[in-house]
């Protein structure tokens, strides 16, 4: 190679770096613009308006925040219940993640789909499901009382900490299962095999090899569970009873019931600050522990169980999951076909033929299609933005990366009431006159789903060795080709997991969307709440029937995404 060529190459490489740098920021500009428009702008404006209602600062409105110990107690309660919920969920779900990550077995796809259903259920419905099972007059107490001849129900967990801890596990189990399980499946089995060959015991291999390799995924899942529980609203409100209040509950109370907006804004900032600090620390830790062992993500390392002990282990885990997660769902289905006078399909037939002449009445079929429409729109937005943001975060080496990482997570940690009110005062003029438009609904869903997607994709993207991309580039692949044929196949599974959660966040009307003003486009959760708003057997029964339909739709949606994954695997990526 001549000297001239070398110089030209050097310059080219330099320019390439600069343009890559530019490209990275171009990629990130879109998520950033989205956050600026639909998160920072409304949030800043509502906080400013709350603190400076007539342009003047009114400190007396929030003096209680510092003078009373009540808020300190609420902060403490919020933190420890979230930490405890996270630990319990991890403890129970990691064995499951192992089973789902390492083995293939019949019905795996269906069980996985079923396990994700709780994620979309409205809290009132979850409460009904648990009561049907564990309440004073629930199934379990009934059996125990007749079986052991007891005069009073032995299980009393209504309005206790245990009840909502259980519900938090119920909601978040699949989060850990899918994020960690998906990542586990992508671990290179050769590394484990090598360790075993060098004389490490299975336990040593797990502790010294597998666990460190899994750390990014476990961390991602734990962080999501923690934030989810930290901002818990309905679960604590309904299942824990009013003796317990999280910051989120207190924000709602201050803003809506007491109309003390300064206090609500101050508490929102406290909530954001605590979570931001945590996420930033985590992001720094996560970046340092970057590991680059991976297996071909397209085929994965999942295998058929061979040994009896393996089969037994799978069996035990599946049975446990079914008891924990599927039995409350079944109790709900049972309730939807059990009337005052025995088995009945009256609730279902009433859903379709009901006599109500309400202007807000919708055919169940349009509630389903509205839900799916919003779900798909929110999923597309969230996955696009999440992919762009993760690509930016994974390729960045600057110090600011952990900070950006934490910034992206903020929408998840932000009070839904505060943000909802922010929309009212900001998105009110063309070209962004969206505050009463149905377009805002999928946007609000996507805002919450987008951090989920990033947390799902980022660990997989980070473990792709840079050398692999460099090799591809050296062989003449353009950056787009590198992304398309190296990155994408490896992170495809993570993208699917992210899509599942983005879709379900939207289907469950999670977070900010509950406070988005909207014209008449009822979704399944809205329909369920409409039934639960008035007394009468038929209302309750139809709410249960609608919940069952919600579960079926969700489950088949997940099942199809799972099928797509298997199909993709069997066809192969051609790479």
């Amino acid at each position: 190679m001549s000297e001239v060529q070398l110089i030209a190459e050097g310059r080219g490489k330099h320019c390439g770096d600069r343009s890559k740098h530019l490209l990275r920021w171009l990629l990130f500009s879109l998520p950033l613009l989205f956050l600026a428009l639909f998160y920072f702008y409304p949030l800043t404006k509502i906080v400013l308006l709350s603190f400076l209602p007539e342009g003047s600062w009114q400190p007396e409105k929030i003096s209680r925040l510092f003078s009373s110990t009540v808020y300190l107690r609420i902060l403490w309660f919020t933190t420890w219940q979230a930490a405890l919920s996270t630990l319990i969920t991890l403890g129970l779900a990691l064995p499951g993640a192992y089973v789902f990550g390492r083995y293939t077995f019949p019905g795996k796809n269906l069980i996985q789909a079923l396990l994700t259903v709780p994620f979309v259920l409205p809290t009132v419905v979850t409460a009904a499901a648990f009561r049907a099972l564990l309440g004073q007059n629930g199934l379990l107490n009934g059996w125990l009382m007749s079986g052991f001849d007891l005069s009073s129900p032995p299980i009393r967990i209504e309005q206790t900490v245990y009840f909502f801890l259980l519900a938090h596990v119920f909601y978040n189990y699949s989060l850990v299962l899918r994020i960690v399980g998906g990542f586990w499946a992508g671990l290179d089995p050769d590394v484990r095999a090598a360790a075993r060959m060098l004389g490490a015991s299975p336990w040593q291999t797990f502790r010294r090899i597998t666990l460190p390799l899994l750390f990014p995924a476990i961390g991602s899942a734990a962080l999501l569970v923690f934030i989810f529980c930290f901002t818990s609203f309905g679960v604590v409100l309904i299942l824990g009873g009013p003796g317990y209040a999280t910051i989120e509950v207190e924000i709602y109370r201050q803003a809506v019931q007491l109309f003390n907006l300064p206090m609500a804004a101050a508490l929102s900032l406290v909530q954001i600050a605590v979570n931001f600090l945590l996420m930033w620390l985590y992001a720094r830790l996560d970046k340092r522990s970057k590991t680059t062992f991976y297996s071909d993500g397209a085929t994965g390392s999942a295998m058929q169980p061979v040994l009896k002990s393996q089969k037994a282990w799978i069996g035990v885990n599946v049975v446990f999951m079914v008891i924990l997660l599927v039995s409350p769902l079944m109790a709900l289905v049972m309730r939807s076909v059990t009337g005052e006078y025995g088995m009945t399909f009256a609730y279902y037939s009433a859903l379709f033929t009901t006599q109500t002449r309400s202007v807000f009445f919708v055919e169940p079929i349009s509630a389903v299609s509205n839900s799916i429409g919003f779900g798909v729109a929110a999923m597309l937005i969230a996955v696009t933005l999440g992919l762009l943001a993760s690509t930016f975060l994974a390729s960045a080496r600057s110090k600011g990366t952990s900070l950006w990482d934490a910034v992206i997570m903020l929408p998840l940690a932000t009070s839904a009431v505060t943000l909802g009110f922010g929309y009212i005062i900001t998105l009110n003029r063309p070209p962004l006159n969206l505050r009463d438009s149905i377009v805002l609904v999928p946007i609000a869903h996507a805002l919450v789903a987008f951090p989920f997607v990033v947390r799902c994709i980022l660990p997989s993207l980070r473990r792709i060795p840079q050398s692999l991309r460099e090799a591809a580039t050296l062989l003449g692949a353009s950056p787009f080709q590198v992304w398309r044929y190296v990155d994408l196949p490896i992170i495809m599974r993570a993208i699917l997991v992210g899509s599942v959660f983005a879709f379900s966040i939207s289907l469950g009307e999670f977070g900010a969307s509950a406070f988005v003003t909207r014209p008449h486009t009822p979704t399944m959760p809205v329909a369920i709440f409409r039934f639960l708003g008035q007394p009468g057997d038929m209302n309750y029964g139809q709410a249960m029937a609608m919940s069952t339909i919600l579960m079926l739709v969700t489950c088949s949606g997940f099942w199809m995404i799972g099928r797509f994954d298997s199909l993709r695997k069997s066809v192969g990526t051609g790479v």
Binding site: E9, G12, S19, L23, L49, V124, A127, A128, R131, N137, G138, L237, I238, G241, G243, Y252, R253, A255, V256, Q257, L258, F259, G339, E340, R357, S358, V359, F360, I381, T384, F421, I424, I425, N428, N433, R435, D436, I438, V439, L468, A472, L475, G476, S478, P479, F480, Q481, T517, P519, F529, R530, Q534, P535, G536, D537, M538, N539, Y540, G541, V575
Partner: protein
Amino acid sequence: MTHNRLLTGGGFFIVQHTPLHVILNSMEETMNRISRFFGSLIVVLAVLAGNNAFAEKSITVMTHDSFNISKEVISHFEQENGVTVRFLKSGDAGAALVQAILSKENPLADVFYGVDNTFFSRAIDADIFQPYASPMLAGVPVSLQLDPQYRLLPVDYGDVCLNYDKAWFAAKGIAPPSDLTDLVRPEYKGLTVVQNPATSSPGMAFLLATIGKFGEEGYLDFWMKMRKNQVLVAGGWEDAYFGHFTAASKGDRPIVVSYASSPPAAVYYSEKPLSEAPTAAVVTADNAFRQIEFVGILKGTKSPELAAKLVDFMLSVQFQEDIPLQMFVFPANSNARLPDVFVQHAVVAEQPAIVRPAAIEANRSIWVEAWTDVVLR
């Protein structure tokens, strides 16, 4: 190893050095794809958003999630005036009002329905409604008209009171409650479920009933006894009624705080036709709190005349007669005939406990705080 498979298996790589312009070209291509995607996204969004902006003549009603009315009633108004009525549902009654107040510079709607007397003063103080002395008020009892300046006009009312499970009390041979003071008697231990006034509007109304009955000096004493008698506090009405009330599902409490119009709803929505309501409401003197719901024309509306017509219509007999079976509350217009199921199974509190709206707004946080300390902490 996997590395090898990835690199050799595909064979798509162009094995030659990549000049800068190729990188830039492909970058351009990538950006083009991205901008095309978002370009089309924005177009779709604009079209969807535009649908609202360029619709035919329309009038918007902002309201809470529990609002309901029959299709043909609204169509009647729409046809008569050649307009479309849009409803914006904005959360519970409190959240909807806060949103109306926050958007007062640039209102979301022309008419707001669903301010109740517990939030009445907040709405008046925020100065978001313009006066309209509807001629239809002639049919509305003066006792329901709280605003002498006609900014908020009463549409309907409901009495928040105790509901009990008739069959449960008959089976146990205990006399059902007839007064709030019954609840603290020993034989009523662990029988009652109420809603948290901090998070629920019937819960707040019931707290106000006890303040109206026992006075500011006596209500905490009553609640202390309630706590000793193991009152259960639920977060909201749905949870209290469907989660804990024996007559509504597999609950364990035969007494619940609900509405005097809940028994007819239990009959109307029963699985099989019932001749008698399974529940009964306690509406003896000073034992219920009357929640009155109001409508008002928002300041800054672009069509005040149409808004006034809609308010007239909401107070007219046609709309008022539709209210009971859609929302299970009583119509404000006394000329409206009640449906049979109301005539047979509904009761009205002749003498509800009274607390002035101004006192409610001024003391809400103090009362709720004190209640929380006594009952929950």
